[in-house]
């Protein structure tokens, strides 16, 4: 699955505290191009915070984040430019309710990348078609089901042609019968070689699709390895306890 060994995201001693609460206590992770990394851990382990630090939605308290060789924590870096290449999918979808689906998809490409409207529309429609929602282009987010919203949210991120996709518990807010349709889209993406970092509670997805699994515990990487290693032969007691609760 690894297309090549080029590092795309690298964190060095990543720290994040909220007031006096230390959430991330020094995380060093390298993510390679083509990787599908699943981040698992108990709630409060810092996995969402870690993901949100990667595109600096949360400002890290310390440490560095390199994205394609640029240190994003350097205040001189034009963050907006780099964020265009890091798609993000949220637990709560966060579609723009005042815009219809097509406008949701084309707003950022036309505004930020100056792509002509026709071209952006065509690309958005093609991607919508691939997630089976071409007929809903004129609908508004409030008219869609949760699973449809999340598929649109994934397409919205893809329309910016990102180099990496960050997923923050993308199926946690969905009704159980809609989880599958979203995971299918994500599997498809992984098969095409998209670099993905996925914070998830879907152990089945992690086992099937990820090439690496990272287990966070109390703000540190407690264990890291292939799905076989993590799920088949957990080394630490913490991971064994965690897996016994979720599997």
């Amino acid at each position: 699955m690894m297309a090549n060994n080029k590092i795309i995201i690298s964190t060095k001693g990543l720290l994040k505290s909220f007031d006096k609460l230390d959430v991330l206590k020094g995380i060093n992770i390298d993510i390679y191009r083509g990787d599908v990394v699943c981040v698992i851990g108990a709630s409060g382990s810092g996995k969402s915070t870690f993901l949100r630090c990667l595109n600096l939605l949360e400002q890290p308290t310390g440490g560095q984040i390199f994205f394609e060789g640029t240190d994003l924590t350097n205040s001189k870096v034009d963050l907006n430019l780099h964020r265009q290449k890091m798609g993000m999918v949220f637990q709560q979808f966060n579609l723009f309710p005042h815009l219809n689906i097509l406008q949701n998809l084309t707003l950022a490409p036309t505004m930020l990348k100056k792509i002509p409207k026709e071209e952006a529309d065509a690309k958005a429609m093609a991607l919508l078609g691939r997630v089976g929602l071409a007929d809903r282009a004129e609908a508004y987010p409030s008219q869609l089901s949760g699973g449809q919203k999340q598929r649109v949210a994934i397409v919205r991120a893809l329309c910016m042609e990102p180099d990496v996709m960050l997923f923050d518990e993308p199926t946690s807010a969905l009704d159980p019968e809609m989880v599958g349709e979203v995971l299918d889209v994500m599997k498809e993406l992984a098969r095409e070689g998209m670099t993905m970092v996925v914070v998830t509670h879907e152990m089945g997805f992690a086992r099937e699709v990820a090439n690496r699994v990272i287990f966070l515990d109390e703000g540190l990487v407690a264990e890291e390895g292939t799905p076989e290693e993590i799920f088949g032969a957990p080394k630490t007691e913490r991971l064994r306890t965690f897996l016994s609760k979720v599997l």
Binding site: L57, H82, R83, Q92, N94, H98, M111
Partner: protein, 228 residues
Amino acid sequence: MSWFDKLHQTFIEGDRYLWLIDGLKNTLLITLGALIIGVIIGAIIAITKYFCEGNKKLKVFSVICDVYTTVIRGIPVTVLLLVFFFVIFVSARDGVPVAIAAFGINSGAYMAELIRSGINAVDKGQMEAARSLGMSKGQAMAKIILPQAIKNILPAIGNECIALLKETSVAGYVAVVDITKAATNIRNKTYDAVNPIILLALVYLVLVVVMTYLLAILERRLRKSDGK
């Protein structure tokens, strides 16, 4: 003398109905002008406060906004009007621009709080989603946050418009002939107190009903784009 003769004597003789029409023009002019100034000031303050939040370097702007809101909301609009006319713009010949400024600056303080509450009511995830796509804070504000905020606060802005229209009835304090002042002038001239006052009340009522109706149409339009 029948009631109709009385009406004729009060409003038609000496073309006094024209006083009312001129007064109405001033009332509408002051309301509209003040509304525009109020919305602009309110939006500037609300957005400034949004961007200054949690930024120590910009805190001074936030404090300026707070002082403005506190001072303006702490002074009755009539007193504010007197201050503007007799203290600040002493040499003003025409009271209408002074009244527009006074009511506009007064309204701005209330609009600011309205717009701020509207911005705060938009889900935090909206800003995050916009930023994650690469939009700057300003772009996200203009394209994502404000359109939703305005939709949320439209009913409250409507209330503010209605309050503003009615507040302008004190403009006569500074020699502005608005419709209230015009009615008073007719009363003084004709010694007919009842009819000008009843008519005045009716005119305000009709204006408010029309405003309410227009706002309802606007709200319905906006909701349609919501797909609800």
